[in-house]
Symmetry: C2
Subunit: 336 residues, 2 copies
């Protein structure tokens, strides 16, 4: 652990530290030959400028934080993929924080991000729309925030989402068109923006079709999968719906399991459709109709907006809503 640093490198080369520093930052006023000599020696001694020291000095960390509810989830892993692809282009580092849908954890993470560790934050939130002061505080400290997927609409910054309401409206209409008369809705985390919007789309479709809205058909699931499965099974048994609109991929998977267990035939007895990014949806039994979200693109867009702000050194980001539409992929699970 003989730790090489800028001073030692300077001594080795009989140069001053500032010259070394310039060599690493492509300063104009440095002799090309000296620069080459420096970089050469640096390679030889395996020297890399200490980013902590540099960041402390410049007040720029060249890192961003990505805060998401979970990662073992196709939507988020694709979105992170998109984010990483633009962060990589900018040579930024990416910190990941998982809230596990827990608002208190979100609060804790954000608090720890207040002081220099990151230049900006991308977040898919865990709370309802009253709970955004912690993020505004961050922005007040000069750290820009961009929301994606699950957002706080009242916070004045850019939000990147899919067209949750319209997609849900479309999706539910599709079920109706396929002949469903009694459509159930599966969701969780009812305080979330997306949950509400999707539910609204569902309700609007029912209204437009003059179909009754029945509370018993709307199942609020749990973060615990076993519990959710029970809730779904109970609803299926008691209500006997002929259609299911699921707001989240995992709930549709549970619903498939429930149907298998209860001998309910899809799409004969019950048609199912869900928000999802599962690559294997087409290979399921039966192939699952999905509202496929542009997860990667949402990640890229959100990151692009953030970097644009970082480039002009401004924590002020337009209060706009970027919508990247989903597409309904019809498959056998909703066939007539």
């Amino acid at each position: 652990m003989d730790s090489i640093n800028i001073r030692k490198l300077a001594e080795e080369l009989n140069l001053s530290v500032s010259t070394i520093s310039k060599a690493f930052r492509n300063s104009y006023d440095i002799n090309a030959a000296t620069k080459e000599r420096i970089l050469e020696k640096a390679r030889e001694l395996n020297y890399q400028p200490n980013p902590l020291a540099s960041s402390l000095r410049t007040q720029k960390s060249r890192t961003i934080a990505v805060v998401v509810p979970e990662i073992a989830n196709t939507f988020f892993s694709l979105a992170i993929n998109g984010i990483e692809s633009v962060a990589g282009e900018k040579e930024f580092h990416v910190l990941i924080y998982l809230t596990h849908e827990d608002y208190a954890r979100e609060l804790g993470f954000i608090r720890h991000l207040q002081n220099g560790r990151v230049d900006g934050v991308l977040i898919s939130v865990s709370g309802g729309d009253a709970d955004y002061e912690h993020l505004d505080q961050l922005r007040a400290k000069g750290i820009p925030v961009v929301f994606f997927d699950r957002v706080y609409y009242n916070s004045n910054t850019t939000k990147v989402t899919t067209n949750n309401f319209e997609s849900s409206l479309m999706a539910t209409r599709h079920l109706i068109r396929q002949g469903c008369k009694k459509i159930a809705h599966l969701y969780h985390s009812s305080s979330l923006s997306i949950t509400k919007e999707r539910k609204e789309g569902y309700l609007e479709a029912l209204r437009q079709a003059k179909m009754p809205v029945r509370e018993e058909l709307m199942v609020e699931c749990d973060s615990d999968q076993a519990k959710s499965l029970q809730l779904i099974r109970k609803m299926l048994k008691k209500q006997g719906p002929d259609g299911v609109f699921s707001s989240f991929e995992k709930l549709a998977v549970l619903c498939y399991q429930a149907c298998a267990a209860q001998g309910i035939k899809i799409p004969g007895d019950l048609k199912i459709l869900t928000f999802s990014n599962l690559e294997s949806a087409a290979l399921m039994d039966p192939p699952l109709t999905t509202i496929t979200q542009p997860a990667y693109e949402i990640g890229r867009q959100a990151a692009s907006v953030l970097f644009k702000a970082l480039e002009k050194k401004s924590a002020v980001i337009a209060n706009e809503h970027i919508i990247v539409p989903s597409v309904l992929v019809e498959r056998k699970s909703t066939k007539k």
Copy 2:
């Protein structure tokens, strides 16, 4: 952007900066009342110690790097989940780097990690087993490295993997037991440790069963999905195997697609089995037999080993191999 810091906080309270510092690190020699007063004021002014400055001083960043080939992959996202769960317990931060199976990127990332940014590295590698000097260099700088899943066996540190050889042996035997006479093998990235081990398991099973080893049945796929699909389709058509042992989840998914397109019935014409962590494997058509890897557990174990080293401030980690076995989950895709 009025940035509060330790000095301003000290002035506000008519205390010295060192006292403030002590309050935040539970130093023994500080008056309980003063400490409370300090923390109170800190909350009020929304002060958080600057981690960059602190890290620079202490030479500890309280962050680790996780380097993986990709993230939109059930295995890795579950493994990261496991890693994050222990990092969270230790209140460490997690940086994510995606190599996209590109060794050059791995090299670049590791180089940038050399100087203070992280205290340790967890990596699932992208190269073959001759290419680990960059990681040994890291360790020489006092930054411990732990491998998981895809490892460099020759590097002297802990590796955490599943039992790739045995699982593959078991899996291939299972196909043989189910009556397969002509078993194909799908893989990619042939320089990787896991790819080799899995292939060895496959070959060993053939040998033990005195079945011929045929090169034409072993398909090396590409990182490009479309290309892989073509390769698989060609093999299926030309060779007409009655069994497929796939080393990677995505390849099995492609194989399902190919079968659907070519009218090959699973498991009647062809039995398939793959390494996978897909939750929906059981819901596929037909339900897919999998070798399910303990991805979350592998992540947790690797992280635990790393943190144990960090706690005793040592970059020297036992040169051992921790094996967390996979389980073969038999489903309809390999039924007689």
